[in-house]
Homo-oligomer: 240 residues x 4
Amino acid sequence: MTVRVTVWNEYRQERSDPAVRTVYPDGIHDAIAAGLREHADLQVRTATLDEPDAGIPDGVLAATDVLTWWGHAAHGEVPDTVVERVHARVLDGMGLVVLHSGHHSRIFKQLMGTTCDLKWREDGRRERLWVVDPSHPIAAGLPETFVLPEEEMYGEHFDVPPPNELVLLSWFEGGEVFRSGATWRRGRGRIVYLRPGHETHPTYFDPNVRLLIANAARWAGAPGGTRPTYHHVQPVEPPG
Amino acid sequence: MTVRVTVWNEYRQERSDPAVRTVYPDGIHDAIAAGLREHADLQVRTATLDEPDAGIPDGVLAATDVLTWWGHAAHGEVPDTVVERVHARVLDGMGLVVLHSGHHSRIFKQLMGTTCDLKWREDGRRERLWVVDPSHPIAAGLPETFVLPEEEMYGEHFDVPPPNELVLLSWFEGGEVFRSGATWRRGRGRIVYLRPGHETHPTYFDPNVRLLIANAARWAGAPGGTRPTYHHVQPVEPPG
Amino acid sequence: MTVRVTVWNEYRQERSDPAVRTVYPDGIHDAIAAGLREHADLQVRTATLDEPDAGIPDGVLAATDVLTWWGHAAHGEVPDTVVERVHARVLDGMGLVVLHSGHHSRIFKQLMGTTCDLKWREDGRRERLWVVDPSHPIAAGLPETFVLPEEEMYGEHFDVPPPNELVLLSWFEGGEVFRSGATWRRGRGRIVYLRPGHETHPTYFDPNVRLLIANAARWAGAPGGTRPTYHHVQPVEPPG
Amino acid sequence: MTVRVTVWNEYRQERSDPAVRTVYPDGIHDAIAAGLREHADLQVRTATLDEPDAGIPDGVLAATDVLTWWGHAAHGEVPDTVVERVHARVLDGMGLVVLHSGHHSRIFKQLMGTTCDLKWREDGRRERLWVVDPSHPIAAGLPETFVLPEEEMYGEHFDVPPPNELVLLSWFEGGEVFRSGATWRRGRGRIVYLRPGHETHPTYFDPNVRLLIANAARWAGAPGGTRPTYHHVQPVEPPG
C-alpha cells in the first residue's frame, strides 16, 4: 500500500549559513526525501516555508498521508493558518513525524499541550541510541543499538506528555539520556518524534536514521478507523 | 498532609436560569466545595469567573495545590491571560480536575491538544458508572458500580489523547459508553477528567460523586518531583 | 506484505454439542479462517487441540507471524509444553490475537500475569461496540459503532493489565460495559484481545467482526525490531 | 495515613560472602528498613527467605500494604506456595516494590509475563539517574539527576511490559541506558521496579535511593478501589 509523504522543511539555515549548506547543499528536506525514496511504497514530495502557503495548501495536505516536519530558526514565522490547518488535518487522520529541533515547532507544541522544552548542547560528540521496544514496527530492521558519531545533545527532562509508545532511548557522552523515538495519538492521527538530525551534522545521510524515518512514515501514515461524529445525537438504542 | 483546593466555577447559569438555580441555589462551586469540606485533609476555597482575575490571580494559584474546573456557557469569556496562567501553573505542578462540561474549556483543550469533542444529549436518563481500574486511589471507597438516576449523556468518541490511566467507564440507557474518569500528566502536573455533573441534575450532591472528586483532588494535588531545568547546559559527566 | 496466520481452535464443543455444531458445522476455526481468507495479504492455516502437538509444533509456530486463539471448555488440556512454546514464540515476535473465551486460556493468563477474570452471562441479547481509538489500524474500515444482535455478555472489571491501546468498548443491554478490543506488547510480540465470539452465536460470520480480526492479524503480525541480546556484556563505549 | 511495609530479603549472600557482609553486615533488609523508618508514616517489618513460610505467612501478607522484594542467588528456592500467595495478594491490592536483582524473582516474572531479562556487568562504575516524570509522587523530593558512584550496570533491552509510568532513566559510563524506575498495575495492586541496589555496593545507604524507596512504598501501598466481583452475574439494568 502506497503511503504519500510530504517532507516539510523550514529551509533557511541551508541558504544563509555556509556551515549548514556544506552538509545539506540541497536542503535538509532533500536529504530526508532521498532517504524515503529508497522505499518503493513511499510516494514522496517536499515542501518548504517560503513557498506559497508554506508549501502545504489544503490540497497538498488532503493528499498527504504523513507529513515530516523539520524547523529550527523560524518556528515563529509559520503562520497561524498553516498551524491550524496542519493541526486539523492531524486530528482528522494525517500522520506527523516531527524531527529534531521540530520539538519547538508551533504544531508540535499545540498537539502536545506542553512546552516541549529540553536540555541541549552543540558539542558534536557521540550519541548512542537503544531500541527499548523491539516489538514496534518503527524499529523494524534496526540493530538493538547504533551510534551517531557526532550530534547535538538533547537531554531530559523532555517536557512532553508521557508517550503512548517509547521506542528509542539515547545515551550521550556528556552524561545525559533522552527519549529519542516516541509516539502519541491525537484524534485520528498518529504522531512520532525522532530526536536525531542537527543541521550541522550529516545525520540524515545515516542509513539507520533513514530507515527509522521511513518506518515512522509508514507507521504513522497507515489508515485508522472511520471519522467519528460529534455533538448532539439521538439515542442509538430504543427505550426498552 | 493538607491539600489546598480551589473550586472554580463559571457561575452564570445558576444566576440566569431558574431551572439551574433550583438545583444549585448557591452555585455549583458551593455544592462541590461542600463535598470536599467533608474531608479534613482538604483545605477548600472557591473562585468564580466574574470575580477580579476570574477569581484566580497569581497569588491564589501559587497557593493552590489542585484546581477543580466547572464551566459551560462562558468558556470563551475566560481571558487569555487566565488560561495562560493556569496552563503554566499546571505544567509547574498544580493538579487540575476538570468536571463535566469543562471538557470544552479553553484550559483543558490547550492541555490536551485536541478538540475534546464528544456526543451529548440532555435526556435526564440513567448513567451507570463502572470502576475499570480498582488499583487507582481515585476509586478508593467507591463501589464497583454505581448509578446516577438522571444525567446528561456524553458518548464516545471523546476526542482526547489516550488517557494515562482509565479509571471509570459509563453506560447510558440510550446505548452509549464513555471514558468517564481518566488521568493525564502534563509537565509536573496531573490532570483528571470526571464526566458527571450537569447543571440541571443534583449530581454534586451524590455521595459517590463527592467521594470521587475528593479522591481526585487528593491524587492530583500530591507533590511530584523537583522542577527540571531546561535549555543550554554543560556536560554533567566529564570527558573521560 | 504477506502475513502468515495460524487460526487455532480448541474444536470440542462443535463436535459434542449440537447447538454449537448448528452454528459452526465445520468448527469455529473454519469460520474465522474463511473471514481471513477474504484478504489476499493473509496466508491462513488452521490448527486444533486434538491434532499432534495441538496442531502447532515448533515448525508451524516458526512459520507463523500471528496466531489467533479460541478456546473455552478445554483450557486445562493444553499441555505445558504447548503453552511454553507459544509463550516463547510470542516473546520472540509472533503476534497473538486472543478471541472471546480465550481470555481464560493458559497462554493469555501467562502473558498477562493476572486472573483475566470477568463477569459473564449467556443471555443472547444485544452487544453494541464503539471505536474509542479512531487512529488505530485495527479499527480501519469499521463504522464508529456496530451491533451484534445476540451475544454472550462480558462485563467489567476485566482483570487484565491496563492495555497499551484501547480500541473498542462494548455496551450491553443488561447495563454492563467492557473493554472489547485492546492491545499489549510483551517482548517482541504484540497481543490483541477481541471480545466477541460466543460459540452459540454466529458472530464469526459478521462482516465487522471478520474485518476486525483481519485488521488485528495484520497489525499484530507485522515485523518489529531486531532480537535484543541479554545477560553479561562488555561496555559498548570505551573508558574515556 | 500509616502504610504497613514488609521488607523482604533473600538474606543469603550477606551470610556467605564476606564482600557482601562488609557492606551489609545486618543484611540488605536491615539497611532498607532503616531507610524506611526515617519516615513516620511508614510502619516497617522485615522478613527473610529462611524464616518459616519465607517470613511471609498469610497473616503477615494480610497485614502488609506494600512488600519490598530483594533476591538474587536463591530465586529458585522461593516455594511455589509463597509465590502464589504473594501473587494473589498483589492482585488483591497489596503494593509490590521490586528492587534491583529482584527483576529475576519468580513473583516479578509471573506478574510481568515476560522473561525480565536485561544486560548486566559488575564493573562498579558510575550510574547517573534522571527523573523523566517530574509529576510522579515517587520522584518527590529527588533532584532532577543524581549519581551513584559505584553500581552494577543493567542495560536495555529490559524485557518487561511497557511500564504504565516511567519515572527514572539511568545512564552508565559504559554506554548503556536503562528504565530504572517504573510502575505497572496488576489487578488491584500497584508494582514498582527500582533498579539500584547491588549487594557489593552501599546503595541502600544512599539518601536519594532511600527517599525513592520510601516514596515508592507510600505510592504503591495507598488504598485503591473496592474489590470487584467476577463470574456469572444477573443484569444490573432491568429489561426495558
